[in-house]
Amino acid sequence: MISAELATALAGGIALTLGMTALTTVASLLLAFRLTEARMSPRRVVRLPATIVVEVFRNVPALVQIIFWAFAVPNLFTADTRRAVFFDNAVMDALGAVTGLPLPYYGLAAAIGLTLNTTGHLTEILRSGVGSMPGEHLDAARTLGASRRTAMRRVLLPTGFRTTFPAISSRLVHNMKNTALASFVAVPELFGVIQGEITRTFDATRLLLLGAAVYLVLAWLMTVVLDVVDRRLRPAGSVAGGG
């Protein structure tokens, strides 16, 4: 049976996993839209840096990015500065009060790492969606007097988003699973809580299977929600894919 103590700890972990998932999902979608626009810019000075940044975000493993922001960056500073900038200040105190995290900087660092990694993947997906669109879409918008930027934001990006939504959803579910990596930098999300409980009770097998079951349920719930969004996104009258 699950003790009341374990249930409270799990609830806290699940809340943090969901919170991090929501935050990184929204942040990476917004960033990915801006970056896709930059990657498809006719100006090389805009396009080239965006392309490089996307390659770095995508190809450096999420865990390495999380460790970089959480552990490596603060080490650039001397002990006193480090404490003042990353740990003991009003901003971190406020963040700690909102999230309940004892060391809010690590939570922030993990969120940054996850967001950038997911942004890289989403940008690549969106770009393929926009790139595969018939040129007439852009021509039509331009003929109607839209600027290139307006055509991109109002026509190409939304259409690309709709057509690639299945790939985007599976990446977002992957991002939810990746929040477990935050436990590596001492963030007590679901997997961190499970590990903490294992050290406390040594009941490893049961706790790991319980945690796995919770992740399966979360992944399933997220898929259900994203499927509903997918159906909503389809223009009325179009034929739903695969069924």
Binding site: P61, L63, A72, L76, F184, A219
Partner: protein, 236 residues
């Protein structure tokens, strides 16, 4: 600034091929571990994909459950679960962590590859397989000589993408302490406060190694699948 470059240069060989006592390690072990898991995982994936297309519903359910479980649970957690069952101990206590990491990556890669194979096989025109059967091929032979090779060419790009993803995901085996690239970086930096100024440079180097290897693989695969397209069955 110069100090951290010197630090990275001094430890570069260890990051590339592992610490002297644990070779092969570092990037080399990341590559070997991924390649081995992908190859064995592919065999597993073909089996799982055929289960999912089996004529008997309970068999199909087993195939589907396998994919759901190994795609739905975070890799970092799968590693601990497999290690728990295989070694019966907590991470890092026992010497068989490499075996646990390998088994987990096989299962994980197998689940993702099975998904790709399933959709690839479903894209093979049924008439092709029927033609083979009419010409006297057994179901197994028709599968191995017609359906699988034809499907594989369709799946090429997706399988290549999955291979690169697995290589990057292999960084997570650091949780078991397997001395591949990410773990080697941790060992090289250690707990020594004197190494603190070198953390950023070391992780930038680790990131660059992953980035170059992944981009290199992606260029290589693009060339391979392109050649396959021109010489293979899918002639357009």
């Amino acid at each position: 600034m110069g100090d951290d470059v010197a630090f990275v240069a001094r430890n570069l060989l260890d990051l590339l091929i592992g610490l002297p006592a644990q070779r092969p390690g570092g990037l080399l072990l990341s590559i070997l571990l991924s390649a081995a898991s992908l190859s064995v995982g592919f065999g597993l994936a073909v089996i799982v994909a055929s289960l999912r297309d089996a004529p008997w519903a309970p068999v199909r359910a087993v195939g589907a459950a396998f994919v759901t479980v190994f795609r739905g649970v975070p890799l970092i957690m799968l590693l601990l679960i497999v290690h728990q069952f295989a070694a019966g101990g907590l991470a890092g206590i026992d010497g068989s962590t490499l075996r646990s990491a390998f088994v987990t990556l096989v299962l994980y890669a197998g689940a993702y590859q099975a998904d790709i194979i399933t959709s690839g096989l479903r894209a093979v025109p049924a008439s092709l397989v029927e033609d083979a059967r009419v010409l006297g091929a057994s179901p197994l032979r028709a599968f191995l000589t017609v359906r699988l090779p034809y499907g594989l060419r369709v799946m090429g790009p997706a399988l290549a993408g999955q291979a690169i993803t697995l290589f990057k995901d292999s960084s997570v085996v650091v949780v078991l302490g397997v001395a591949e690239l990410t773990t080697t970086a941790r060992i090289v930096l250690g707990n020594d406060v004197a190494n603190a100024p070198y953390w950023v440079a070391t992780y930038l180097a680790v990131g660059a190694l992953y980035l170059f290897t992944a981009s290199g693989l992606s260029t290589l695969f693009a060339r391979l699948t392109d050649t396959e397209r021109h010489t293979g069955l899918v002639g357009h």
